[in-house]
């Protein structure tokens, strides 16, 4: 993938989409070969460097993975706290990204008090708040209805337009057709199409 690209990753269940994404944010390591992200080989990366890699990568999951005991604001601000930003900057960035994702009316709500689409937007906000170079999304619309799915992917397009490289794993063919972007197709762990 080139810097600034927006690419879909597709394939049937078990094709290896999630595994590929996990390799890209160093949640797993390959048994052989290289995984190059921003010219860095993750296969040989030291464990102590992994947190710093992840600060450059935003990850969004189908099940959102939000902290239930924290509010919308706290969930997003948490990512800025982890990287050690000063408290004032943490608040500024968090407000900004939540406003961008139209969640500024939900700041004090807990994840269970908001809809699935809003929860996914919170997860995206958290992935974006540290201004990542790369955004990885694993079936981000899997739990959403078609209208919300479209809204989420439109949001990814906007994020991509601001310079972030985006890789979205999905098996939603309708969504892929509507977006008209490069598509990588995996089958049994091998790239079938779109690698050119």
């Amino acid at each position: 993938m080139e810097r600034g690209e927006f690419v879909f990753l597709t394939g049937s269940s078990g094709a290896g989409k999630t595994t590929l994404l996990r390799l890209l944010f160093r949640d797993d390591v390959p048994t052989s070969g290289q995984v190059l992200v921003n010219n860095e080989n993750l296969a040989s990366m030291q464990l102590s460097r992994v947190p710093y890699l992840r600060r450059q990568i935003g990850v969004v999951f189908q099940d959102f993975k939000l902290l239930r005991r924290k509010t919308v604001f706290e969930n997003v601000a948490y990512a800025t706290q982890v990287i050690g930003l000063p408290p004032k900057e943490q608040r500024r960035r968090t407000y900004h990204v939540l406003e961008m994702l139209a969640l500024n009316h939900r700041l004090r709500h807990y994840p269970e008090q908001i809809s699935g689409g809003e929860q996914q937007r919170v997860a995206i906000a958290r992935a974006l708040v540290n201004r990542p170079l790369l955004l990885l999304a694993d079936e981000p619309t899997g739990n959403l209805d078609p209208d919300l799915s479209l809204q989420i992917v439109e949001l990814f397009k906007e994020i991509n337009a601001q310079g972030t490289t985006v890789l979205v794993a999905t098996h939603d063919r309708d969504l892929i057709k509507r977006m008209a972007r490069r598509v990588l197709t995996l089958s049994h762990g091998r790239l079938l199409t779109g690698g050119e």
Partner: protein
């Protein structure tokens, strides 16, 4: 991250973690308290037996009987020699008259006996208490051999069997105490480790999210370690309070007053330094157990 900011984060997250799972927090602190209570009970008995052995050692004397006609110079020379001897903790000279008075006080029914027997049956003597490192039968025998050769000395006596029994008791206390103590300490570590691991597992999902957003291992672990330290401290304090309460109930009980063995094993409470160490042990063990559990339960560096 600035140190103050990092400390604040650790304290806030640790408090959140403890408050969010109150049952688990209380269970962990209680489990630590129970194991430390048992260990503290052992320490209490060991401490009292230690006091007892010291008292017994104090009663273990070597008597150096002087000849009836021993001169003042001979007595003074031996006194000087005993004072300068590194084996001697304490030496007291008892005159013939004082020996006689003692006999009459201890055995009032026999106070006419010395007159009937006749002669000088209460010779002047030195009562010598040895330092702890010399309180064994062989060392006492070696010293007695030397003192027997001193001018004016009639006889040197000590109770060899008593020395040997005390040495055996002290050896048993030391080896048995270390063995039981090590076993109990291991039990405390295992229990503490298990409960702290349970709290870590309860927050596994949270740990995964922290790793996902780029938290370092230290950032993830520190709040758990602070939380575990607080649980260990609470457990230690509860154990100490429970131990003190139990001890007070025991010393007021009828069996305590009726049975002399009870006063030997539980006559005194733990000294302040040992009490503090027991509480500190809760804090240290819980923190160490948490550090080990965090490694095993998946809070190892991200990507591992």
């Amino acid at each position: 991250m600035a140190p103050v900011q990092a400390l604040r984060h650790c304290l806030v997250e640790a408090k959140d973690g403890l408050v969010r799972h109150p049952a688990l927090t209380v269970l962990a602190a209680l489990a630590i308290a129970v194991s430390l209570y048992v260990f503290g009970g052992f320490l209490l008995v060991a401490f009292n037996l230690g006091v007892l052995s010291t008292q017994l050692a104090g009663e273990m004397e070597v008597q150096i009987y002087m000849k009836a006609g021993a001169s003042e110079q001979e007595i003074a020379a031996l006194r000087g020699s005993l004072i300068g001897d590194e084996a001697v903790a304490h030496a007291r000279f008892v005159t013939a008259e004082e020996s006689r008075r003692r006999f009459e006080t201890r055995f009032p029914g026999l106070k006419d006996l010395p007159g009937e027997v006749g002669g000088e049956i209460f010779p002047p003597a030195f009562e010598v208490v040895l330092r702890p490192s010399y309180q064994d039968a062989d060392a006492a025998e070696r010293l007695a051999r030397v003192w027997r050769r001193a001018a004016g000395v009639e006889e040197v006596r000590f109770d060899r069997a008593w020395f040997e029994r005390l040495a055996a008791l002290l050896s048993l206390l030391r080896s048995g105490g270390y063995g039981v103590g090590a076993l109990l300490l291991a039990a405390v570590m295992v229990t503490t480790g298990a409960v702290v691991r349970l709290t870590v597992l309860a927050r596994r999902e949270e740990i995964d999210i922290m790793k996902l957003v780029g938290a370092t291992a230290a950032f993830i672990r520190a709040p758990f370690l602070f939380g575990a330290a607080a649980q260990g401290l609470a457990g230690g304090l509860v154990a100490l309070a429970g131990l003190r309460l139990t001890w007070r109930l025991v010393i007021r009980s009828t069996p305590f007053h009726d049975n002399p063995i009870m006063s030997m094993v539980a006559g005194r409470f733990l000294p302040p330094a040992t009490s503090t160490a027991l509480v500190a042990a809760g804090l240290v063990l819980a923190t160490a157990a948490a550090a080990l559990s965090l490694r095993r339960a998946g809070a190892a560096p991200p990507g591992s």
